[in-house]
């Protein structure tokens, strides 16, 4: 379930379908939309990279403790690794979208 949820989340980032309040889109004057969209994606990237770091620390701890998932009989870190990987992938995507507006998914492109 965790893998399905995080992989789904990654696909949602790819298509720009994450739920977000769109009120800010209307607050910014049209001529600043380029700056707004770049800053928006940069901020998302910063959050995702932060979450990647803490995710890595968490998974590394599981790895060191060699915890086992009792149901799957798998090393726990194997199940958990999807958490930092998804945040990393979302962070990289957001960074690319910030720097290369043409690659932004249609749903999140706005005017740039």
């Amino acid at each position: 379930m965790i893998w399905a949820g995080f992989l789904g989340s990654s696909m949602t980032t790819h298509k720009g379908l994450h739920l977000r309040p769109e009120i800010a889109d209307k607050l910014w004057p049209l001529k600043y939309h380029g700056v707004f969209n770049t800053a928006r994606h940069l901020l998302t990237a910063a959050f995702c990279f932060g979450a990647t770091w803490y995710g890595y620390l968490y998974v590394f701890e599981s790895f060191e403790l060699a915890d086992i998932n009792p149901i799957l009989n798998l090393k726990l870190w194997v199940v958990q690794i999807i958490i930092p990987l998804t945040f990393l992938s979302s962070g990289v995507r957001a960074l690319v979208y910030a720097l290369m507006p043409k690659l932004r998914p249609a749903a999140t492109r706005g005017s740039h």
Binding site: G5, G8, L17, R40, L43, F47, Y54, L57
Partner: protein, 420 residues
């Protein structure tokens, strides 16, 4: 100073249009670090354990079952059957429209999908039989919202997770209000429709043909809910049964689903899960922080001085939720408000299951209220009418739903009769 920082952080996130998962995640991290002096790494642990909850599995499975069932001609089959039954009744088409919406919504679990599937077929028929544009648009748009109150319902599962109540009980509690709201919409259709002039005699042959074609689709909610209500399977197991049932029906019986469609359906399901999953698991972390800090209890104490009785609380909470429904989508509203409002409701002696239903009916009305009511935009698109015209058509139906909301709010037995 710390609180000022939190407000500024929230403002910054809103001002830069951040996705909800970033907003909830950043606020949770800030609260853990500055209020609880906890290591932020703890949140990742909360995400992992929240994502591991069995009931979460019901969400993608119900969505998958709905996606599988709605690929073929189910809408046409349900409408044919509903029309065969309601043709002899005055304004029968309006009744067929609402009933088709209610059943289709129970299967698909999606309000906009219901409106598109049923609305696009029935709207021309409404016009042909002399229904006014306003009534047709209003009835079909309002009928489309029934999906979230008729179980199985994804918002109910989300509420159950956030408020720590039983999904099975919520599903049981949804059936009474679902029937009531359907009945009220049908009643409105009978009074406002063309009445006897649009009546046609009952055709037994057409009825049996329509029943034969539609019975298996119609039975899906019956199998799921029957299994849950009789205690044969849990809500999560019923979601698995729903997928299996949908696969058998669509592959083997109706033969409308092709193997090549499956990857697309799975991807669509994963995307839907993706929009919800991160927000949900992060919100569980924020919920844990609020519980540790006794924020709901503090709010209850603060509110107790101002609101003395259950009646005033229910009125206040309904007004708040109707307002919230105008500006927030249903999932976000449940994630943020359910953990805060449910303890208050319990403090005022309201059954949390009943409160969950009240909350969901309020937010259901939000599908029809500007500026973010999704059914307004869907209706504007499929009926090719300006958004202002759609809003005008929907206003009377919103009042009908408000009457239903008042009854559901102040007569708890409508929701709780199956639980008792």
């Amino acid at each position: 100073m710390i609180t000022l920082g939190l407000v500024l952080l929230l403002l910054l996130l809103v001002l830069f249009g951040q996705p909800l998962f970033v907003m909830i995640g950043a606020v949770t991290a800030y609260c853990f670090h500055f209020y609880a002096a906890e290591d932020i790494q703890v949140i990742i642990g909360d995400i992992f354990f929240a994502g591991d909850k069995e009931i979460l599995l019901a969400i993608p499975l119900f969505v998958l079952a709905g996606n599988l069932m709605t690929q073929g001609g189910i809408a046409k089959r349900l409408i044919r059957l509903a029309r065969a039954v309601t043709n002899p009744i005055p304004s029968g088409l309006a009744i067929a429209g609402v009933l088709s919406c209610a059943i289709f919504a129970a299967i698909s679990g999606s309000s906009p999908v219901t409106l598109i599937a049923i609305g696009s077929i029935l709207y021309p028929a409404f016009m042909q039989e002399g229904y006014s544009k306003d009534l047709s648009i209003g009835m079909l748009s309002a009928g489309g919202t029934l999906g979230i109150i008729i179980p199985p319902s994804i918002p109910m599962i989300v509420f159950a997770i956030m408020a720590s109540v039983s999904v099975t009980d919520l599903f049981k509690a949804g059936i009474g209000p679902g029937i009531l709201l359907t009945f009220l919409l049908v009643l409105y259709g009978i009074f406002k429709g063309p009445g006897w002039s649009a009546r046609t005699p009952f055709d037994a042959k057409e009825f049996f043909v329509a029943l034969k074609e539609g019975i298996l689709s119609l039975l899906m909610p019956v199998v799921i809910l029957g299994g849950i209500y009789s205690g044969i399977f849990t809500a999560t197991e019923s979601a698995g049964i729903a997928v299996l049932y949908a696969l058998i029906i669509e592959f083997a019986v109706h033969r409308e689903l092709k193997l090549r469609q499956i990857p697309g359906i799975l991807a669509e399901t994963a995307e839907m899960l993706g929009t919800l999953f991160l927000i949900l698991v992060l919100a569980v972390g924020l919920n844990k922080f609020m519980t540790y800090q006794q924020i709901p209890q503090n709010m209850v104490e603060a509110l107790s001085g101002k609101i003395s009785d259950k009646f005033s609380f229910l009125i206040g909470v309904n007004l708040l939720l109707l307002l919230v429904g105008c500006f927030m989508d249903i999932m976000s509203a449940i994630l943020v408000l359910a953990p805060l409002l449910t303890p208050m409701a319990v403090h005022f002696g309201i059954n949390p299951i009943h409160f969950g239903i009240v909350m969901i009916v309020n937010l259901e009305i939000g599908y029809l209220t500007p500026p973010v009511g999704i059914n307004l935009f869907v209706a504007s698109g499929i009926f090719n009418e300006p958004i202002g015209k759609v809003i005008k058509s929907i206003i009377p139906l919103v009042f009908v739903l408000l009457i239903g909301l008042a009854l559901i709010t102040f007569i708890p037995q409508i929701s709780l009769f199956l639980l008792n």
